[in-house]
Each structure stands twice: as C-alpha cells, then as structure tokens.
Subunit: 261 residues, 2 copies
C-alpha cells in the first residue's frame, strides 16, 4: 500500500481549503481487480470512494439512464454499486447528496486497452471521464492491455504491486496538467518496456472490423451478435505504442475541441 | 412529397457507379413522426431504409450492445426495428448482409434540440453519426427544438411540409461538404426566423444542471431519478442561435480532432 500524499493543485480544489481531496473511482466493468487496484491507489491521494455499475457495462459510451429509476447498494464503506452506466455513476456521486464534491474522477483500471478513435467515443471507461469534465471535474481513465474475458478472475490481472506503482506514478505526473476542461486517457501494456510515458493524440482510426454474426435459436428464429475483430496496427499510432512497442501512452481529450471559432 | 433528385457527390459513392445512393435513416426515439419525415425526405435523394431502435433510446450516446444478442423485426418494406442502440442500428445496417453499402446516414429528426457540448457526446441521435463516420460513412443528424415528452403524438410535431422542406434544403446544402471524416449536427427551431443557416462550433458548455432526485417506493426503499434542468442560455452559442434567435444551426464534428499532432 502506497502512503505518498501528493498534493492535488490548489486550482483544482480551491484555495484555502485545508482538507484531503475527494476522489471518485468508477469504471465500466463493475467490481473487479482493476477497480480495486485503482481504488487503493486513489486512497494514496485522498478520500476515495468507488461508485460503480452493478454489472458489466463495457462499450456503453457516455450513455445516461434517464428513463428508469436508479437503485443504489452500498457494498462496503468505500464502494457503492448502482444499476447505471459509468456516466450515471459520476452524476450520482456528484448530485445525490451522499458524497462531498469530488476534486478528481479516476476511471478504470479497464480490462483491455482503449486505443483508437472509437474508444474515445465508445468506451464506458472514457464515458465517465467525458461526463466528469462536462461537470467541471478533471478526470483520468486507465486501461490495461488485456485479452480474453476472464476479468472476474483476480489471478489473471498480473502483478498487482507493479500495476499500482505505475498507476500512482502516472497520476502524480498528470496532476499538474489537469484542468476543468480536459481529461486524460492512459493506456498501459501488460509489461511496459519503457519507463517514459508517450503523449499521443495520433489515434488509430478504427481498431476493429465490425462483424454482425447471424445465428438461429432452438426455435429457428434468427438473432445477431455484434462483435469486432482486431485490425492491423497502424504504425505511429497510440495502438502501435501500446500494443507493439509496449509503451505507456497518455492521450488528452479537451472540451476546447468543441469551444469553437 | 419532394421529387428532387439531388446528386450525392461521386467521391462519396465511388466513381462510375450509375445507381441511386443508398441511405440509412435512423434515430434514438424509435418509430415516430420525426423518423417518418426524415425517411420521406431521404427517399427524395435515393434508396432509403430505416433501421431504428425498438424503443426510446435517448441519451444513449454511442453505446453498443455487445453482451446480448440483437433481434430484428421488419416493420414494413422500408423500416426495420432492432432491440439495440442507434449505433447498433448503424452497425447492423452495414454488416448484417441485409442491406447494400450506404452512401449516407441520416439520423433524426430528433424530438428536442441537441445543442451544447454534452449533446455531442451524449445524444443517441449523434451517437449514430459518430458510429457512421467511424465506419467511413458520412452522416447528418437533425434535431428539432421541442419541449415536453409527447413525441409519440403525430399532431404535436408541427407543420410536416415545412419541416420536410427545410430538411431537404439543408441536406442539399451539406452534401458537397460531407466527407468520410466528418458529420454534421443540425439544430432547427420550431419556426425559424431566418432563412440562412448558421455554421457554429461555439457550443454552450452545459445546457442542463443535473439533478438526482430521491424517492421512496411503496415499500419504503429509496430510488433515484437522474434528470436535468435547462440552464440559462449563453449568448453567442449554438443554444442562443437555436432557442433565442430562432436560427437553424449546423455544427461540424470531425474525426480529425483526434488525428493528433
């Protein structure tokens, strides 16, 4: 367990407030080892509480649940699950009255990288960060390159201490760069080859070739699966760095992209 | 019914193809008058087919359904409903093998404007357009400033011919500007004051103040509604144009925003 107390810059927490920063931890996978690692890392920086979806909500983008009620279930002192999306988790934390105003949102650690432009829009992990900055709270998303679907198995996540150490160092490095208009998406290979972090906004256009597969149920009625096959990696892109060169990458997404003129 | 046959530029359909363009019409409200108007307008430009969510999917952003199967139901010769999101509709149209490759995706006409940065990420109507351009198909989203929730009532949509006429003119104006890296989000007031279309990328940061309202069910257990209250309109923004000045606005969103360097 790390014990460092890195200061979150005053411009984010407001001057003269002598208190520990409040940190919301969320993700799109629900309760799993990636979430628990990030929650523990967050506690090294301040008061951290996790509000997470009560089930797998990958690829849910910035979706909000406006047409049905949200139920909450407190799982432990530091963790609450709701029947909502990652963006719902952010709004619930901010506006339900159950928590103090957050200074920072951390989302992840996601099972699987979020490289490519499609992830900027489609990832639930990043959807939470979009929602956070729209509400004026800076955010960082963490995604770990992983294959397969066994994310519920704690044993397959890799070296816990190493991953938490890297995550801590990255948060330290990014804190001075955060403001209320941006968020950062961090992608980590399983075993980084290089200590330096690559800043890149050169994203692969599409990481996946979409497939729609038709099957017949036992009654003979058709149903379809939407899925994706990994495309070839484009040299020089975020995917190239993370997957082929085993670099850690950081991509900044700023709302100023849409501030016009 | 309009009979104009406006050419979709060759660079979008591919040279030497002497055929009518294929147009996918989708939305996030499901079957309603706004969808039917846009489908009829689309038929003035080519072969148009609607693939839509089988229920209301507002605010669903670019969410994809990867964890459960999709069922399709053909509603009529020109309309298919699936138990999916707007982005699912785009992928289903492109990859199920039931349709020819689309030259253009039209999404809407949405009940309610999609002004503000939050809509760029959160709207299901725009989510379909993001998905389309990620797949290399140009797209236009149409949203009509409306209040209330009676969108199922055909009578409350306003002057059908006037809305369809405006929509047709806007598509004509935008066709030469479309490419495989961008989409356009069009916002229309109910009764425009000006004939000119305002191009704006100066978006209001947040159009809504989020509220999370706690209630108790008949058993005394709490549940929560996530909702939003309209904020004051910021002068000079897209919302100012559409809502206060009654202008039609067009906002271009380009994937080049994320192409870096």
């Amino acid at each position: 367990m790390m014990k460092q107390q890195v200061e979150i810059p005053e411009r984010l927490t407001g001057k003269l407030r002598i208190r520990k920063p409040n940190i919301l931890v969320t993700n799109d996978d629900g309760d799993c080892e990636g979430l628990r690692m990030l929650l523990e890392v967050a506690k090294g920086f301040g008061n951290a509480h996790a509000v997470i979806p009560n089930k797998q909500r990958s690829a849910v983008s910035g979706a909000l649940t406006l047409h049905k009620p949200i139920r909450m279930r407190k799982m432990s002192e530091d963790m609450t699950a709701i029947n909502g999306t990652p963006s719902d988790c952010v709004l619930f934390y901010l506006h339900s009255g159950h928590y103090e105003k957050p200074d920072l949102v951390l989302s992840g650690i996601n099972w699987g990288d979020n490289t490519g432009i499609g992830s900027i829009l489609g990832s639930g992990t990043l959807g939470a960060c979009w929602q956070a900055v729209l509400e004026g709270v800076p955010a960082i998303a963490f995604s770990l390159r992983k294959k397969g679907h066994e994310y519920h198995d704690k044993a397959v996540w890799g070296d816990r201490e190493a991953i938490m150490g890297r995550t801590t160092e990255i948060i330290r490095a990014l804190l001075p760069k955060l403001d209320k208009d941006n968020f950062f998406s961090v992608n980590m290979p399983e075993e980084p080859k290089n200590a330096t972090i690559v800043n890149t906004n050169r994203l692969q256009r599409e990481r996946f070739t979409t497939q729609v597969t038709k099957r017949l149920d036992p009654n003979g009625a058709p149903y379809y699966w939407i899925s994706g096959l990994e495309k070839e990696i484009e040299p020089g892109t975020d995917a190239d760095h993370v997957i082929r060169r085993k670099d850690i990458t950081v991509t900044e997404v700023s709302l100023k992209l849409f501030a016009g003129d």
